[in-house]
Symmetry: C2
């Protein structure tokens, strides 16, 4: 390995391990040159490598910064297969534009009226019907990440020591909660014996994505889910149920919010199922915690944007949301089939069957020595070295033309791995 590659690898380790978190400016080229006892050109080559890998970005006149996963964009021949939002190109913007026009025509100045802290009552009512959930304990939030943030505030005293995560799990939760405790998943969920031992050992909260888990695409079996719920109740543990892409699960088994309602903080992203910029979601929380969540919401941002809530209300009521979900599910299946056809023959890769949602979680037998990484590497989702050679390919964030080109690109870079 050339010296610059060695240095790049060491800096990469520091980024991955959180010494330099996303958004952080890393020390200067001069600093690393002193530190490694090499000349500055060598460090510069290492920086260029990390920039090409999407880990750093240079801001002229300011230095190099650790990139947020979300800011990775398709550039040149690299296609972004790391983002798990849906491509904006799918969203029916014609319908959306018409709905906004109708709102302004109908509500006049009140189009911009502030919604109550808990959310627009009309939106809450229609979401309750659509998702078969109680409205009395529901609140509208500015996306699932805010739902997690409110939970972090309400449970502040128990975090990060007493919160358990699936391994692997969602990077935004790792970052927010400074995650420390993890439990591995098999194809059916966490193993109950191991979970029981962890709950007996001081764990008070369990963050889980039981339907269409991110990044592995599994869904808990009904039996496993039931067992987890009973354990949580027995130990007085709260479940943070991140419902993520549950709309795209194959069946509609009960959720934690259904089978353990007084132990479950249910979080549903609506940006994830529509378009990233929507920044809406909702929560259903135990009745005895409702006041505290409302208070946390109030101190966080007073309330979510009222006009967006009116928009989404109309989008659901008019049937456009269901139509969009149906069209998206069909598109998801078609794209997944094409991607599986491409990956399955590659002997060095393992793709677990029955994965759901808009991503595939792939395990590679060998390390991948690539100049560019188009997918989300395993280290974003886990501190476990065993996941170093895993990665998540998200196949719904590109428009149709780019997706087809991205498949060709994958053939090019994965071809050398043989069949």
């Amino acid at each position: 390995m050339a010296l610059y590659e060695e240095i790049a690898a060491q800096i990469r380790t520091q980024i991955v391990s959180g010494v330099y978190p996303p958004g952080k400016r890393i020390p200067s080229i001069r600093h690393f040159a002193d530190h490694f006892g090499c000349n500055k050109l060598t460090v510069q080559r290492a920086f260029e490598r990390l920039t090409a890998d999407g880990l750093l970005e240079k801001i002229v006149g300011s230095g190099s910064y650790v990139k947020f996963p979300e800011t990775i964009q398709a550039a040149g021949e690299v296609y972004d297969l790391s983002t798990d939002y849906l491509s904006e190109s799918f969203f029916p913007h014609g319908v959306a534009g018409r709905i906004f026009q109708e709102i302004f025509a109908r509500d006049k100045g009140a189009a911009f009226a502030a919604a109550p802290i808990a959310g627009d009552p009309s939106l809450i009512e229609v979401l309750g019907r659509f998702y078969r959930l109680p409205t009395r304990r529901m609140l509208v939030v500015s996306g699932a990440q805010q739902g997690l943030d409110l939970a972090a505030k309400v449970f502040a005293a128990r975090i990060p020591d007493n919160i358990l995560f699936e391994d692997p799990t969602y990077p935004g939760a790792i970052s927010l909660f400074k995650a420390r405790h993890f439990i591995p998943l098999d194809h059916a969920g966490p193993r109950i014996g191991e979970l029981q031992a962890r709950l007996a050992d001081g764990i008070r909260l369990f963050y889980t994505m039981p339907a269409v888990h991110n990044p592995t695409g599994i869904s808990y079996t009904a039996a496993r889910q039931e067992a987890v719920a009973r354990l949580a109740e027995a130990h007085g543990v709260f479940i943070i149920e991140d419902s993520y892409l549950s709309e795209f699960a194959d069946d509609t088994r009960p959720r934690f919010v259904d089978i353990a309602p007084e132990q479950t903080i249910y979080i549903k992203s609506l940006s994830q199922t529509t378009v990233a910029g929507l920044r809406l979601g909702f929560m259903v929380v135990p009745s005895r915690l409702y006041d505290r969540f409302i208070h946390a919401k109030y101190t966080s941002d007073i309330g979510s944007n009222g006009l967006m809530q009116k928009f989404f209300d109309a989008f659901v009521r008019g049937g456009d949301y269901q139509r969009f979900l149906d069209a998206t599910a069909a598109r998801m299946q078609r794209r997944k089939n094409r991607l599986m056809d491409l990956l399955a023959p590659i002997g060095a890769l393992t793709v677990a069957p029955d994965q759901q949602g808009g991503s595939l979680w792939v395990k590679s037998r060998t390390g991948l020595n690539l100049p560019h990484v188009p997918w989300a590497p395993g280290r974003q989702f886990s501190f476990n070295p065993a996941m170093e050679n895993c990665f998540r390919i998200s196949f719904m964030s590109l428009d149709d033309a780019d997706f087809t080109r991205a498949l060709d690109y994958l053939v090019d870079i994965l071809g050398p791995m043989g069949r």
Copy 2:
């Protein structure tokens, strides 16, 4: 005082002192009946009184909850003079509707694209020009309250022990930061000697509204502001400058962000100057804290709504924002004159001259024994008993017809206080 009034007064004290914060369900009628040793009908009358006063709201089947100040609505003969947002009726919804149409026509699916974490670069650029502020350290937030929340996260370790507030101050800050330390204001700002003593005594943060202070309407003199800035620099204290309604200050003296940029976290609400439902604002932070604010924003809600940012960008660029501010300033002056004409002759009331913005801070020589309180009582802004008889009348949240009716209503309720 009848027994039910006595009980209402005691519960009111508990609400005001924070035993039952906004959004909290208060104990049952039966509980209070046992506690006070009276029958349930008496407690029910007390509850009805507190509900009429706007402190409680009953939710059928669930109990009575402490109301958030924001949810107080005009009802019957009560006019809401407690909200300091501008009436939605002022906002040029025709212009807004047209801008949304243009965005959908121009951007198609990308209308809903997610903005970067720091905010839409185009919006940041135009805000930098409009407000004469550096864009490199700017981030867009979902309203000023979120700006405060991000500051609370970045400075977590120093809060609430080491943060100083003006007395009186903004209730949302009291609630978020669990405010403990206060410094009184005179007509020109805090007294420098007293501030110096507090800063020497472990204070690391100072939350201030130096232009159009809420609720007193004062603005710091330039000399006082300069002295505060030098003290902050000398003691390494950060200033959280909540710029609130600075657009409506009479002059444009330098801000803390101008004279002490590396000590100042500048927060600007854009909902406050336009319409409550907008839920946008921005911050300018010291360069050495920028990364940490971006990280806090990312873990809070990924980013603010992209479509709203596009809207506001166009609203500023087209000159509509400046036109709206000009029209609002003129309307504010007219309404203030009408209200001053009404209040000035009432001997029991003192209204300090030269108050700016859309509210008047009024001191009453006598306690006001009113069944309904249309304004925001002093206890929302201060724990100081001396402010018990103060109140803030906000005169910009009603449409023109309701405002005229509200003036008549004020004559009715204040008339008995004599001339």
